[in-house]
């Protein structure tokens, strides 16, 4: 079964050991998806599968068969990108595509009312956007340059302004 990557059907790799991350980067040359650990610890490799964020380094390419993969190239252009630049939510830029992919999915999670560790009322119908909610939900995406404040500002701006 094919994998749909940014709307295009591609055949899964012959070598079953190939991760989704390596398929994207090394086979398809979709190098916007980054690799920071290959251990599921940094979030740089975040992509969307059927609209949900996943770590592509911990996902075998074969697991994406029959599903829709969206990478930063597939999101582009996205209002989060301009907001990240404007709010300086990036420095070296290496964690950035992963942050943006994660944020895009995270905004949908909040909108769907999925609670988090910092949500005060777990039974509430809706979860309000707040700085703390964004910080908690984005904690799987590390940034060593320390662009955290700008990243959160950018996400809040886009989410509150409902430009997505």
């Amino acid at each position: 079964m094919d994998i749909t990557v940014n709307g295009t059907a591609v055949a899964p790799p012959d070598d079953a050991r190939v991760s989704l991350l390596d398929m994207l980067r090394d086979h398809l040359h979709l190098t916007g998806t980054k690799v920071g650990c290959n251990q599921g610890a940094c979030g740089a490799c975040t992509v969307l599968i059927d609209g949900r964020r996943v770590l592509s380094c911990l996902t075998l390419a074969a697991q994406a068969a029959g599903r829709e993969v969206t990478t930063i190239e597939g999101l582009d252009p996205h209002p989060l990108q301009a907001a990240f630049v404007e709010r300086d939510g990036l420095q070296c830029g290496y964690c950035t595509p992963g942050q943006i992919c994660a944020a895009a999915a995270m905004i949908d999670e909040v909108r769907a009312g999925v609670p988090s560790y910092v949500t005060a009322d777990l039974s509430a119908e809706s979860v309000p956007f707040s700085r703390d909610e964004v910080r908690e939900r984005m904690s799987g995406n590390l940034c060593r340059c320390g662009a955290h404040n700008g990243i959160v500002d950018a996400i809040l701006e886009v989410a509150d302004g409902s430009t997505v």
Partner: protein, 770 residues
């Protein structure tokens, strides 16, 4: 650094002290300080859209024709030798092209060791790389496997069988202290400083503190893994490398592999974070050698574990800080001594006492660093080397003294600020530390602090406020060349083999060029990251921005001279000399009579030229020898500590900085915040766990080495005095490392204020508060 060099530097300083300012190349303030247009604007980074779309090219995305993939094998013992190495199965595995070990690795010399000023050297370790069966530290590279795909190489690496004969290794810090070495110099400063009799002053002081502070190993943990792609074409070598030392790496590879410098090209347009960790280590050498043996381009991307194994980080340290003060709190004794690790094959002394020399006045000083030797991957510089851990110790001690004296810790600091360098007596080039403290305290609301620890409680949470000072020396490097091309359409290109690792170099230099040349920002392009461009020094010591500003301003002077020559007799500025014109408003303009102006387009058109290109290097950085040049910070923190779990949550951080002209407040704020966040990590979570029994790092992963995540990072306020330094290009001083020092102490001091518990060993983990 030898005794001779020590003497030479101090005598140059003495002589320069007598030289009137105008005799120095950097004597009169940069005139552009008064004419900022683009400089000082919060321009968004020019490469932001490229990075945010994932299109900025990083090294391991390079694909060359016929490219192959390498995997490293690391030793699992600390000292000893390889007894048996069987690569038969690996060589027979599908896709494998090469298994390289000490047996077939080309015979190479030692990588030239990095120094701040040597453009020919970038190494961190003076050990041979896969030249013999010896193992000298745990995790050392012992083999590399090259295959058609990464998966094949990774799999084949598991098939290589190695037996070792183990030998005893030096792995225990405490045991090694007995054999500690005392270097003559720490970087370019004398190591041992003794003014008066500090021990006696301490004993007779009215108030005194005397404690030992411990800090662990740290790793840089740039999110981008180290990567190299190397390809040989005859004796020409092309290397894509993630590096903060482009030209030194190219030169070092040329000398190592015995080819002419011009034959080696290193490309590194974007680096996914450096922080001191992306200099030259074994992986570049192994990859270049493997490409030669395989006869194919080779890509190597270190694993995260591999980064911990073969890229050194910050040394652990044990520092004694003792301060004695008179009844008013004026320091009578400042003692700062300690131990850190530096193996004989390493180079980086972790200069934690350098900041202490300039921070406070004292009647007496006793300062010395000692180095212990362990069998480890050599330590190296990591963002704000020395100052980060030095400030933790000293600024904790100052807080302890303030507590003993029942005096406000800000007030205690203000009483001891120096008005010239406390040891050399040199004047500061610019020094508004007092203002940074008072402005910061005001904005932060420091007056809310309760002096008595443990008194502010809300349910389970104890709240505390703390502060700490940081400093970082100004550095500008010689050898920063800039090529400037002015085109007939009025656009200009700035190019140099400098580095973009997130500092915003292209953005800030474009702003600078716009002002220097009198052109709109959109007309400027900045090209970096390729050794084929004119040479630039390493990105280190927070020096790249000012070094390039000096290079570009020298190039602009040359451009002015060249344009004046081209302008000809029909020009409105004909007859004026170089000193009588300046670059402004898209052309040359008379200083005395701004109505006399000749546009760049017009000059080039009249001369029949499409473009003019000049190349120049910045003047020698003599200002560093004549003045005491430091940036300073006052850091404030508010946090909560759970009385139940010992968990620390930092709610607020504020950094108030005195660091010269801010060239771009947006990117500067990012740099300063980034530094502060690294300080936050060092305070609360960061520690490279080292097994002293085996000599092995135990947490070589981002899952077990905790760098700050979003929930750890509160909103961070930054502010600055903004006072230009009259002795530096554009009045600026480097800020890439200034954010970090002082933060760990501010947090530790706030923890004390919250709980009454004094933690003198980083990181401040929950167990230390229960």
């Amino acid at each position: 650094m030898s005794r001779v060099q020590n003497a030479a530097i101090s005598s140059v300083r003495t002589v320069l002290g007598w030289v009137p300012d105008r005799w120095l190349p950097s004597g009169s303030p940069d005139p552009l300080i008064a004419r900022q247009q683009e400089i000082g604007r919060p321009t968004s980074r020019v490469d932001g859209p490229l990075k945010a779309s994932g299109r900025a090219p990083f090294v391991t995305e390079t694909v060359l024709a016929g490219q192959t993939y390498a995997t490293l094998i690391h030793s699992t013992i600390t000292r000893g030798r390889i007894l048996r190495l069987d690569s038969t199965a690996a060589e027979a595995a599908p896709g494998v092209l090469l298994v390289m070990t000490y047996r077939n690795m080309p015979r190479l010399g030692i990588v030239p060791m990095a120094s701040l000023t040597n453009l020919g050297a970038a190494g961190n370790s003076a050990l041979p790389i896969m030249q013999d069966p010896e193992v000298r530290y745990n995790g050392q590279v012992v083999a590399a496997v090259v295959a058609e795909t990464q998966e094949q190489a990774d799999h084949a690496a598991t098939l290589v069988e190695i037996d070792y004969a183990q030998e005893p290794a030096a792995t225990r810090f405490e045991d090694a202290k007995a054999g500690a070495r005392t270097l003559t110099s720490i970087l370019i400063e004398r190591n041992h400083v003794s003014v008066g009799d500090a021990e006696r002053e301490l004993r007779s002081a009215v108030h005194a503190v005397d404690n030992v502070y411990r800090t662990p190993r740290h790793n840089h943990n740039a999110i981008e893994l180290h990567g190299v792609v190397a390809a040989w074409d005859g004796d020409a070598l092309l290397v894509h490398d993630s590096t903060q030392a482009i030209v030194p790496t190219a030169n070092a590879l040329a000398s190592l592999f015995g080819v002419a410098k011009e034959k080696v090209r290193v490309i590194s347009p974007y680096v996914g974070g450096g922080f001191g960790g992306k200099m030259m280590w074994d992986h570049q050498v192994v990859t270049v050698a493997a490409a030669r043996l395989a006869g194919r381009p080779v890509r190597l991307r270190l694993t995260r574990e591999g980064v911990y194994r073969i890229i050194g980080g910050r040394s652990p340290a044990e520092q004694r800080v003792a301060i004695g003060a008179d009844a008013d709190g004026r320091f009578a004794a400042m003692i700062h001594t300690g131990y850190s690790v530096m193996p004989p094959y390493g180079r980086f002394p972790e200069q934690y006492t350098l900041g202490t020399r300039a921070a406070y006045r004292s009647k007496s000083f006793e300062i010395i660093q000692r180095h212990v030797d362990l069998d480890i991957v050599p330590n190296t510089f990591m963002r704000t080397p020395g100052e980060t851990i030095g400030a933790f110790a000293v600024e904790s001690a100052v807080d302890e003294l303030a507590h003993v004296m029942d005096l406000d810790p800000v007030e205690l600091r203000l009483r001891n600020l120096p008005d010239r360098h406390p040891l050399s007596g040199q004047p500061f080039s610019q020094h508004a530390v007092h203002q940074a403290w008072t402005d910061g305290a005001e904005r932060f609301g420091w007056s809310r602090r309760q002096a008595k620890p443990g008194t502010v409680r809300d349910g389970e949470w104890l709240t505390g406020l703390g502060c700490g000072a940081g400093s970082f020396p100004y550095a500008r490097m010689p050898g920063a060349n800039v090529r400037l091309t002015l085109r007939r359409d009025g656009s200009a290109e700035v190019s140099t083999a400098a580095h973009e690792m997130g500092m915003g170099t292209a953005t800030v230099q474009a702003q600078h060029a716009a002002d220097r040349l009198g052109l709109p920002l959109e007309q400027i392009t900045v090209t970096l990251g390729d050794s084929a461009l004119v040479a630039a020094p390493i990105a280190g010591g927070s020096s790249q921005t000012v070094s390039l500003v000096a290079g570009l301003s020298a190039a602009a002077d040359d451009l002015r001279d060249e344009l004046l020559r081209l302008a000809g007799p029909d020009s409105p500025i004909a007859g004026l000399k170089a000193a009588e014109v300046r670059l402004a408003d898209g052309g040359l303009v008379s200083v005395a009579d701004p109505a006399r102006h000749d546009g760049y387009r017009e000059i080039l058109a009249r001369a029949g030229r499409d473009e003019v290109t000049v190349t120049a290097a910045g003047s020698p950085p003599l200002e560093m020898l004549k003045y005491s040049m430091h940036s300073s910070s006052a850091i404030f923190c508010e946090l909560r500590v759970s009385a139940v779990t010992g968990e620390v949550r930092v709610d607020r951080l504020l950094g108030s900085f005195d660091c010269g002209t801010i060239l771009n407040p947006k990117t500067a704020a990012g740099q300063l915040r980034g530094g502060m966040i690294m300080g936050l990590g060092s305070a609360l979570t960061e520690e490279t766990l080292f097994d002293e029994r085996t000599g092995r790092i135990m947490n070589p992963s981002l899952a077990d080495y905790h760098i700050p995540a979003h929930l750890d990072v509160p909103p961070i306020e930054v502010m600055w005095t903004g006072i230009p330094d009259p002795r530096t290009p554009m009045g600026a001083r480097g800020i890439g490392e200034l954010g970090t020092p002082g933060v760990a102490a501010a947090i530790a001091n706030a923890v004390f204020n919250a709980t009454g518990k004094r933690v003198r060993e980083l990181p401040i983990t929950l167990d230390k508060l229960l």
